[in-house]
Amino acid sequence: MAGWPESPRLIGTEIPRLDGLAKASGRAKYPSDMNPPGLLHGAMLWSPHAHAKIKSIDLTPAEKSPGVKAVVGVMKEGATVRYQGEVIAAVAAETEEKARDAVRAIKIEFEVLPHVVTEAQAMDPKSPEVFKGRGLANNTRKGNVQKNGDPEGGLEKADVKIEGHYSAPVITHVCLEPHGLTAKWDGPDKLTAWASTQAVQVTANELAGRFEIPATNVTVLTDVMGGGFGSKFGADLWGLLAAELSKKADGKPVKMFLDRAHEHLAAGNRPSAFAHVRLGATKDGKITGMIAETHGTGGASGGANFPLPYVYLVENRSRSHSDVFVNGGGARAMRAPGHPQGCIIMEAAMDDLADALGMDPLEFRLKNLGERDVVNQGGAPAPINRTKVYQDQVRIGAELIGWAKRKPRGTNGAGPIKKGYGMALHQWGGGGAPDKQVECMINPDGSVEVRSATQDIGTGARTILAIIAAEVLGLEVKEITSNIGNSTFKPGQASGGSTTTPSMSPPCYNAVLAARAELFEKIAPKLGAEPGDLSLAKGQVLVKGEAKMSWKDACRQLGMVPITTLGKFTPGLSANGVGGCQFAEVDVDVETGVVKVVKIVAVQDSGLIIDKMTWNSQVYGGIIGGLNYGLFEERVMDPTTGVMLNADMELYKLAGASDIPEIVVRAYETEEMKARGVIGIGEPPTIATAAAIGNAVTNAVGVRVPHWPMSPMNVLNALASNQGKA
């Protein structure tokens, strides 16, 4: 099988995304923008309580409400709701205003039950057990202790030990386009849905399954969509409800998208992480042992585990993790699930131990990487040793941030503004799925289309496919039509886990190579040449390097029949397993606790980069996501009323333009890395940022700020508790 081109013309350069102008001029139509004729607007009744039994429910007033065309009940009398935001019923009406009125007209009585909404509340032995029948104690599922070597003995051997309690809160995805879809029946067994999804085919299959219609009769369309971050992999209950309401309303299209509060409550979150860590090392900085007890909540559905230890080699270790169940919306995959939590906990402990050792935390980290950390084992080309990659990356990053200017913890001058530096390492798997396909069509008019049932969630997937086709065919990127976001196309990758580009690039490349070969076969005789003599460049067909015919004329030779090829995955074009490091420089005002991030440096490998422009954007975006986690984000639950107190975009805080520091991104793009082929980039760069910021803040202020985010409250509380001790 052919490898990637050795001296590419387009691959690896900065190419603006194909749909960028449509998006930037308001012309791109998102699923939530669709207004098909006869459109009805959906709205949902969701539980205002964290835990309650439905004593009675009467949908009739909603049915009689003005403008209402359909009402569907989800929960009946006697049912129990387990979190604020759990869906109870849905309506479709002529206008959104009327749909919301109808929801409020539903007569419902609750018997409010005791709830637990925070980790502490759930684990308190005095609190009620709210998830009976799941085998929990104190609303907690204790995991097994994972033990390796002799952790207690390792700690005893340590010259220096630290013990720390660290935590990071639940955060939510805050996709800007809410979850939802617009559904429309074209006859009794044919359904079209415009869905804001990361997986058109999963969504289509769920819809087909729910209504027991042939999968071939369902079309899910996602031309563009407004962000998913791991939370939009299916039709979801609200998508099924839209289709059900549409069916009830004689097939009239129904648009059902969540409101902002409901997004926070029911559409996923990153679980919290709490850790009690004991870590020890010899005086020359070799870790001897680690004992960690951790817990976190993924809401009513669990799933709050995270990797620990993380990145570093800890041979003597013990880890026990408990999932805490609360009356809150369930966790969903969120950009690098688990890793940012593991990174925060591990890197905070690493920094604290380095400080206790009186050692540069950078040196301490390098001393504790495994000698060999082999990734892509068994894959082609050769596996790599990630430890060597880290060593290089850390050297580059340290130079770019000016690590030499860093002072030991708490020695940052007399003024109120303290400068601090911090760092963290991360890793991610990624890699391609081997079962996806791409079609390529070369039409007699010279137009070229690649198509597959993947979708572009903002990463640039559409543009990636066009770049590959243009590279092979000697055309410009804008001459390629990249047709994705349609569930009826050949199987395409769901956009998650940094797998889209490595899954889709190989079949795309193979499809276009096959189409080119077929074209060469057809036109070579007309040029009096062998197919092997032909090549393509700058819109020309070349024979032995000499331009002989324009691309369009060559395609015209096809007559009436386009070339259609199907590309499949072949090994060797993509790989998995990446590492990266990030550094943060912060200014902390110790009189206000306000943290300003001055600069972030990210050094990241991800194999062969297809589009440097969208690659950079992904890394910037990952960092800014991590900055939000480090400085601002926190889901605040009220223990008494059981509701989320900041289900908005004001007190749920996210960075604006003035919060963005200088960001320096450096691709670790050696020949060895490029030879690995394509690897995804969505998740890795968001992992280490919050950890690096927390460590920089701690370096600046002189005491560990153990609770994320680095808010004035958490920083001032850390300073105050330290004064209390002194």
Binding site: L21, E96, E177, G227, G460, Y620, G621, M649, E650, A657
Partner: protein, 209 residues
């Protein structure tokens, strides 16, 4: 509810009193020009009883230079009216509470949040959405495209609109001014680096540099 339903407790004499007092109160505040306008309005007061709108009302709006008519309720926001009734879907609904800027629309030259603006209050005003912007090389959309100031693109209409409005009043902003000018918008994908570059590039391009 009937329109022009007079409130029972208000009598003619009190209204006369109010007329005098409010003008007196206003006099201290106003420039001469506005005073003249107020006086003119006062002269027309007999006919100018506050008209009550309720239920479904027909509304004509000047959107991107076109007169558009639809039926709304007084509670319909400008954003929902544009998106649901007029199929002007550039502005997006994200926070729906005047926090995130995705709905930014220019009304009488000033960028505002259309999610917390009532459509009926926009009658007679000039409403501009980004669909009306120049998509050529001197326009803000082009700069956002070329500098990848977008990813999923859902916040982008708001950023582009806020950026255009900022550059209309400050054609040569510093980076710091660009930040302040765009602080009313939130991006979740984290495209700010491209956004800031795009805004500075658009400033240059708009001047033909």
């Amino acid at each position: 509810m009937t329109e022009n339903d007079p409130k029972p407790k208000i009598g003619a004499s009190r209204r006369d009193f109010l007329r005098g007092s409010s003008l007196a109160a206003a006099t201290a505040v106003l420039t001469q020009q506005v005073q003249a306008e107020v006086a003119a309005e006062a002269a027309n007061l007999q006919a100018a009883d506050a008209k009550m709108l309720s239920g479904e009302v027909s509304l004509s709006l000047d959107v991107n230079g076109k007169a558009m008519t639809c039926t709304v309720e007084p509670r319909s926001t400008l954003l929902d009216t544009l998106r649901d009734r007029l199929d002007v879907t550039g502005p997006k609904r994200v926070c729906d509470r005047a926090s995130c800027g995705a709905c930014t629309t220019i009304v009488d030259g000033a960028p505002i949040y259309s999610c917390t603006t009532l459509a009926v209050s926009c009658s007679g005003k000039k409403i501009e959405t980004l669909e009306s912007f120049d998509t050529g090389e001197r326009g803000v959309p082009h700069a956002f495209h070329q500098h990848d100031g977008l990813m999923c693109g859902y916040c982008t209409p708001g950023f582009v609109t806020a950026c255009k409005a900022m550059l209309d009043t400050n054609p040569s902003p510093t980076l710091e001014e660009v930040r302040k000018g765009l602080d009313g918008n939130i991006c979740r994908c984290g495209t700010y680096v491209g956004v800031l570059e795009a805004a500075l590039a658009a400033a240059k391009a708009m001047k033909g540099a």
